[in-house]
């Protein structure tokens, strides 16, 4: 057994992961319009499993079609998708890698509504439009909230039935749970709004429902934004502070959560999540795909597209980053939460340096880290660490071009400087599309066959 704490197993109540490195939730538009996953997704996840991470937290998986963030992402809203997820789980397990499905609902933060959702407002805690893009929404009724709770429970059950290793509730980064939790967003006056206990009610009801459905023996973790910093658009309210999230984390643990995954920010993307640069040249070429998604998206497109206007958005975006590091941007917040709960705490936010992670674990800031971009840049990051490197040979530059290409292009690393040529970059992007000859032939009606 390795003496390196990074490679020491992390034991949860119902799950043991071989090391402290989790692939954080990240994906591309790999799947089918109906929500069924594809070979491409299996290829994508296996890249990281093969690279040595202890567990993969799936990308965002909607429990309902009306809760998709982006169309063409795999969902878990149907029982007949269980075999598909089972296949994916099996593929990952071959690498001694655990697979945790992130159960999610977009709420109003719906980037690409797709054919299922474009005709209606998204459900949310509020009827106020989303602040950055102007996504439209409608406050859910009590009956609709009950329906949502049940959908999450069903999603967890399907994950367990598929043989996956656990679920994570995506209660961070501005999605539906955040929309209930955040005092900067939730403007309800019923039992789901107002006091923190009320705002947390929906999340806690979901945890209770999942536990009721799948029992205590199935791993369940909750991803929370430690601090909302909801005032990215300057006139918005700031939202929850750390003390609020510590309370919520404690309540989650009480209701049966097995781990807390700490992130930051009440919308996605947020200046601090993912931390790093913002490539105007990239977003100017991809954001047009989102213009029809929100009532303020065209305004943003103009701000991105025209150099004279860029300083406006640059000021909005970069003013919150001042004085904060990229790697471990919310480390201290994770430490504060860990000090208040007994379950393991994961932290995400630009981790890439082995010694830094090691120090975070040994100093009690967190028990493990969830990484997305650095692993996209170097799928074998964990193996490089195992071989003694502290930083990979060609580290992630935190350029965020992977994120900003997402509206239009395949998920992957777009930092040309990291590749010998453009062709090499494209080749790398294309590796996940390697198909295998197991395509099924659609059935033929008997009359036609005759």
């Amino acid at each position: 057994m390795s003496e390196d704490v990074i490679f020491s197993p992390l034991k949860f109540r119902n799950l043991t992961v071989k090391n402290r490195i989790f692939r954080s939730n990240i994906s591309g538009r790999f799947d089918n319009e109906d929500g069924s996953l594809t070979q491409t997704r299996i290829n994508w996840e296996c890249k990281f499993a093969a690279g040595g991470v202890g567990a993969i937290i799936s990308s965002y998986v909607p429990v309902l079609m009306e809760g998709r963030i982006i169309a063409d992402y795999a969902t878990v809203h149907r029982d007949d998708f269980i075999p598909l997820w089972e296949r994916l789980g099996a593929a990952v397990h071959r690498f001694d890698c655990k697979y945790i499905m992130q159960l999610s609902h977009s709420g109003r933060q719906m980037d690409f509504p797709g054919v299922h959702n474009s005709h209606r407002p998204a459900l949310s805690s509020t009827s106020r439009k989303e602040s950055l893009h102007g996504f439209l929404c409608r406050a859910a009724s009590k009956a609709e909230i009950d329906h949502l709770v049940e959908a999450f429970a069903a999603g967890a059950w399907r994950a367990r039935e598929a043989g996956l290793d656990g679920v994570e509730l995506h209660a961070a980064n501005g999605y539906l749970f955040t929309q209930f939790l955040s005092s900067g967003i939730n403007d309800r006056t019923d039992e789901y709004g107002g006091l923190l206990q009320n705002r947390a009610r929906f999340l806690l009801e979901v945890i209770r429902a999942i536990r009721a459905r799948v029992g205590r023996g199935f791993h369940l973790q909750v991803k929370l934004s430690a601090v909302d910093r909801n005032n990215v658009i300057p006139w918005e309210k700031k939202g929850n502070v750390l003390a609020d999230t510590i309370e919520v984390a404690k309540w989650c643990e009480s209701e049966g959560a097995d781990a807390i995954h700490v992130s930051t920010g009440s919308l996605f993307p947020h200046p601090l999540n993912p931390p790093g640069d913002f490539s105007f040249e990239t977003i100017a070429t991809t954001y047009d795909a989102m213009i029809s998604s929100g009532v303020d998206a065209f305004r943003n497109f103009l701000l991105f597209r025209y150099r004279l206007l860029r300083p406006i958005f640059r000021w909005i975006w970069f003013r919150m980053k001042k004085g904060l590091p990229i790697e471990g941007v919310s480390l201290e917040e994770a430490r504060a939460i860990k000090a208040n709960v007994t379950v393991p705490v994961l932290n995400t936010g630009g981790y890439q340096t082995a010694s830094f992670i090691r120090s975070g674990i040994t100093s009690g800031a967190f028990d493990g880290v969830a990484i997305a971009r650095s692993l996209v840049a170097n799928n074998d990051l964990v193996q490089q660490w195992a071989m003694g490197r502290d930083l990979p040979e060609r580290p992630c530059t935190y350029c965020n071009k992977c994120l900003l290409n997402a509206p239009k292009n395949p998920m992957g690393c777009y930092e040309l400087a990291r590749f010998p040529s453009r062709e090499a970059m494209i080749d790398e992007l294309m590796t996940i599309y390697a198909t295998r000859p197991t395509l099924n032939l659609p059935p033929v009606a008997s009359a036609q066959a005759a």
Partner: protein
Amino acid sequence: MTAEPPVTYVETQLRRRRRLLLPVAIVLALLALIGLVVVVLGLVAVMRLAVNRPQVFPDIVAHFEHGSIGADQSSGIPFWVWQALPRLFPAEFDGRLDYRAFGFLYNTDAHGRQESLPIGISKRDFQGVDLVWFNCAVCHTGTYRTSEGAARVMVPGMPSNNLNLYGFIRFILDAGVDERLKPDRLIPAMQAAGANLGIIDRQVWRFVVIPRMREGFIERRSRLQPFLAEQQPWGPGRVDTFNPYKLVQMDMLLGAIAPDERHGASDFPSIFNQKPREGMQLHWDGNNSSLDERNLSAALGAGVTPETVDHAAIKRVKEWVGELHPPRSPHQVDPAAAERGRAIYMNACAVCHGYQGPDRYVFEGAKLGTVEANSTLGTDPGRLDSYTEAFRQRQLAELFAGTPFQFKHFVKTNGYANMPLDALWLRGPYLHNGSVPTLRDLLAPPAERPSAFVRGIDIVDGKNGGFLSPSCTPGRRPPQGFCYDTRLPGNGNGGHTFGTTLPATEKEDLIAYLLTF
């Protein structure tokens, strides 16, 4: 055609938002349009208001006659009003469409056509309106004829012996309150005179230019009219230099001017040969020894203000008149008599006045250019008394104070300056107030000098010196010219009795010599 329904919820909401915001957008667009129009009009107005462009004349004589010294900007009237006035007030202009009725002189162009503006009037485009008013030449350009039928010769630099400045100023002030200057009558008259005014220009003239002009007239009239009404008409070739100056430049009220100060009317001086005069006591009463200050003071009289005065333009005139020589006397005299007269003159007169040499005037004489106490001279004190120590103090404090142009050389004197007598043949009538018509009369005892005579005839008098000046009866208008009455305040013809006791033959010789000046 029915609009196609929106495909997405976002489009539905955007369409609703557009529908709700349409009235606001229309209002904003209208406001933006109005704002744009206002900005454009504002820019046009600013560009127009920024215009301050005098006419520039490379030729020095043209500059003297029509170049601006800044009076047009501060005191001027619009060119098209100037052109319209003869049409509106035909009686005052003797039915002519020019200003000859007031003694203004005109040049003719290469085709023999009379120029539109008389000599001594400059023109400046100020804030989009052409303004016209006086320059130096208005008071310092005269004419002479050698006989009744001879051609009239115009002489830049000689006193403006034709100009009826008093009559002109009174006319302008009265016109300001005359209903004929209401826009409804003035604008058509301007158009009849050739003004081409568009719709906007007509409104600008109706509501801005003409009301402002009339206000200016009324204000100036309220200052000057009581004074002018009290004074007798000055007659052609004369001006009261300092009293209008007190009323207009100093904003003094008539009551603040003592009764014995109020009769300062004097002859326009000639302005030949100015350079040799530097350092002499200038002005009739010798109250300033600086040519520059004398010039600047005269410019104020013409209508400039400390803010509008064009020092460079005045300097250009100064340099030119510094060496401007008068035309030679055309009088034919007996050389022997003139030679005898010269001896008399050199013995008795040259010390005060310098003398005429064979080719040029000689500015030498122990007392030349100094002030002779009026207790000795005994000429009319009106001009002397019109300049006071109190006024000097105000000049010092209020005009160009703190600038290099401050009036530091003015003094209050007790008499009149001994003038050089260059171009004497063009300077009649004589003495500072023009009260003695000819040189011969000046050599006569005061009691024998004409008590009333005609001024304004420009035929030189080859026998007596000066211009033909027939006697006249005060109160009766002579067939031509103006009847000057020496018995009126300021018009007295006494004093300067030098030479009056010479024997008749010596007087003839002296006159023969003086006719060569």
